[in-house]
Symmetry: C3
Subunit: 265 residues, 3 copies
């Protein structure tokens, strides 16, 4: 089985950045298998990148290297890091993303990438570490190098926290964290939170310009053109419209509040 690296960046697809980085990676390990997760993370949206990648990691084999470069502080003193967690490897700038992938648990190991012999050049371009440092190191890790070969163990790395929904006896209050290509609006309300209180399946959902009854399992549970709340494939509460674009039709944006209210039932 060839060494596998996934790529998640905000580089877009029209510039040279992704291909230059891939060239630097293939130079290290020509047999590398590279899968693009997305290069269309909103510029400098670390949480958006983490949200997408969390839905991808479980479907990749142990040992996969996930290279994630959303790097608003490129060229500053922020450190380049790599880590291992749940059998997967992470490589990227120390921007808090690793902690978002961990969701509260601790990594098996984190290193600061300070071994320049694994970089493309000892003097990386200050605005393009992906090509000169992260890509080559990810390729070395995928081809079997150990974390403590490419870096020095550290206990400190930047921590960010997912905003958790508020749940009380009246209901659950969260917000929209991602709007997908179809206009489905994914919230920060997880399946676990929903399933903790059986009333939530029959709650009223207040979101954007509408009020929806109940939590469903798939779009076709309601008639064509109707809005619904459902537990989608990401295992989070999602607001959709059967056959339509919920974000547009219901005036929902990233960050819009979503409330489940239990009522008297």
């Amino acid at each position: 089985m060839p060494p596998l690296v996934t790529l998640t960046t905000d580089f877009g697809l029209k510039d040279a950045y992704v291909a230059a980085m891939k060239g630097a990676m293939l130079h290290v390990e020509p047999s590398l298998r590279i899968v693009d997760v997305t290069h269309q993370v909103d510029p400098q949206d670390v949480m958006g990148a983490a949200f997408v990648l969390l839905q991808v990691i479980p479907f990749y084999p142990e040992g996969t290297v996930h290279l994630v470069v959303v790097d608003p502080d490129v060229g500053s003193a922020r450190l380049p890091i790599a880590g291992r967690f749940e059998g997967h490897l992470f490589v990227g700038p120390d921007n808090g993303l690793l902690s978002l992938l961990l969701r509260g648990s601790e990594p098996d190991q984190v290193v600061v990438l300070d071994q320049r012999s694994f970089w493309r050049t000892e003097q990386p371009a200050r605005t393009f570490n992906a090509r000169d440092l992260f890509g080559p190191v990810a390729a070395h890790l995928a081809s079997g190098r150990a974390l403590d070969e490419v870096g020095t163990p550290t206990d400190t790395f930047r921590r960010l926290h997912w905003a958790h929904p508020l749940a009380d006896d009246e209901g659950i209050q969260g917000f929209v964290v991602h709007i997908d290509r179809f206009g489905n609006c994914v919230t920060n309300i997880s399946r676990e939170v929903i399933e903790k209180d059986p009333r939530s399946r029959h709650a009223k959902c207040y979101v954007g310009s509408t009020i929806i009854e109940g939590v469903h399992d798939t779009y076709t549970d309601v008639p064509q053109g109707e809005p619904l709340a459902l537990l989608g494939s990401s295992n989070h509460l999602e607001v959709g419209v059967n056959g339509g674009n919920a974000a547009t039709l219901l005036t929902i944006h990233k960050g819009s509040p979503v409330s489940l209210v239990y009522g008297d039932g």
Copy 2:
């Protein structure tokens, strides 16, 4: 030669869907070769997906698996199917797409995908069969499993029909089925229909805001900036502008009528 799968979906490139599906496929068959046809089919546009894929299939080797997921009815009772035709394999929801690829001929075999041991999980997410069912089955087929291992033969599958152009002694009446990135407007009028009547090469073409003389072979047959009708690489009548965007310049939309009128000549 590694097993080959092409992917055609309406998933877009900014979400986790494509990468999660690829992970589930590589889990089944790590040596799989995956080619993205497009993930930018208009949401839920089954005919649009079929139109693109028909221009791709002839250039792939026999035995290639074409995974096509445009699935407005995901989670409903619509069946998952696979089929073999002209030496190629199709996997996807039973949404009529297979029949559009067949263009009137019959498939060699069609099966309902009911063998859960070839799925990623026996309880697929009701909104993401591509990751949990279609992707893994496509990977199994590409790696050599037979259709009747992964499913049960069936005679019934959903049939859709291409709208044929109307041809009579006065001319040919069709419409625009696809507008490409350059603004070229591809119609449902095939080369065969054009070549049936030699007058069509010199016909007047009424389309959008203009009338064009004759049917050409390439854009540079007319001066820079001029509109033309031509028989393009898809073997269908196309309306273009040499060096320009015909859709924008001539106010042509998907669905716009296109008439070839023979005149007195």
Copy 3:
């Protein structure tokens, strides 16, 4: 190491063009490794394609084949060519792009692609040479065929020239040649030109709606939200905004003039 081909086109990602071309290439050489540089070159923008590819080539191994199809004159008398320079191979229409990659130096060899046995068909579609001619020839070259097997040596090919910045004792005058996904505005003023006169590091930079002081090394050299001029990863002067989109915020377009003025300092 598998034979490696990079692809740079203006085909976009929603049509069948890229996948049909890849099918024709894999038919020739199933083990081919294909890396997409970009398919989102502005339609028919030969200089834009060359600008992106120049930032990619140095990171690929010698022997890589770079297939570049931006082909406003497809179907006309323009010739199909291939060439070797600095250990890399180029394949594409004779539209001047090869000369832009050479930046004034001469190629090792250039051939006209006239050996039809290496094409997909002896009668290529007049509007899609990428699928029927360039793709297959690139695959043959990647799998070891020599240039003079697939074509006939020539001394003449189309020459285009990069517009050089004007530098005099007062300062340097250039223009914006590329705006990247982040809104960074890359100019035609190279690191060499900047470094020729030490005053340029402290010059005033006039661009769009603003005047900026000095030339920096990375975005975080100025406070969040502030504009700056810097020597970016492409080794050209770039105008950016730390954490923001310079093109939008400063009203800069492709072609906008950029002046460095030395002042009295």
